[in-house]
Amino acid sequence: MDDYLNISNKNFKSRLIVGTGKYKNFKECSEAIKASGAQIVTVAVRRVNIFDKKKPLLMDYIDPKKITYLPNTAGCFTSSEALRTLRLAREIGGWKLVKLEVLGDKKTLFPDMIETIKSTEVLTKEGFKVMVYCSDDPLMAKRLENAGAVAIMPLAAPIGSGLGILNKVNIKIIRSRTKLPLIIDAGLGQASDASIAMELGCDGVLINTAIAMARNPIQMAEAMKFAVQAGRKSFLSGRIKKTIYGKASSPKKGLI
């Protein structure tokens, strides 16, 4: 049976979304995307460098016809900044599927959930399909669902921290209370973190720093691909019950 990640009525074979920031150069970034098997990548909206026209462009290395660009509002600290950014992103080339991220604190980069919910409502009304970066709070996740989000993207830990999933219980609760795609966004550090996210029942993971800043980003991208696949299969297979005593794997019958 085919197992797809469905976001806003579009199927993706890969459950791994990768960020395109922090790489040494676009070549490394594009090789890492290839190794990761990702079909969706996040991108940022910034000023064109009109004074240095020789600077390479992201679109020259990552073809938006082959890989789904997911414009992101990374770096926005208010609803109005985030809305402006995504409206501009839509004008670049008709992007409606977007990732909303409204930060509330420069030190932790935690999301400002009040601004985030407000922005989700406005963007949804404007026809955007909004995937939303959020705290790992089950009540906030529900509020986002009601505001029209097409995917809930709780943090595992602060952005770029590499700490892995800090509150597995909350992620499980969010999972049990929403049918929307649940994608862990931010804070993963290594491949096993991605497997754990998938084993908790998440539909996907979004990874940037853990790949881009690894000693070997391309190899880590591949490791993440396999980790997501392994975690997903493990989740679908149904794990055994935990017991505190041992249970022999070999039959007693015929013991010499």
Binding site: G19, T20, G21, K22, Y23, F26, C29, T42, V43, A44, V45, R46, R47, V48, I50, F51, K53, L57, L58, M59, Y69, P71, N72, A74, G75, R84, R87, L88, A89, R90, E91, I92, G93, I159, G160, A186, N208, T209
Partner: protein, 72 residues
């Protein structure tokens, strides 16, 4: 010699003085910016790219030209 009228504008935060007759579309093409890869804002109003031909540049305009870059 005929004097060329200049207008003072800001592009992506930098001050520039340009020919007053120039259109927004012309400004982009002279800077070798492909319209397909960018979005343009004039005085915080997003310009519909289909209408870009009709936009004239005025003195004091603040123009922002953005595109996609690598990000998380």
């Amino acid at each position: 010699m005929k004097k060329i009228n200049k207008v003072k504008i800001k592009i992506n935060g930098r001050k520039r003085s340009i020919n007053s007759k120039i259109s927004l579309k012309c400004l982009l093409s002279t800077n070798k910016i492909s319209l397909k890869k960018v979005a343009v804002e004039v005085n915080e109003k997003i310009i519909n790219k289909k209408m870009i031909n009709k936009i004239k540049i005025k003195n004091g305009d603040k123009i922002e030209i953005v595109h996609f870059i690598g990000g998380g």
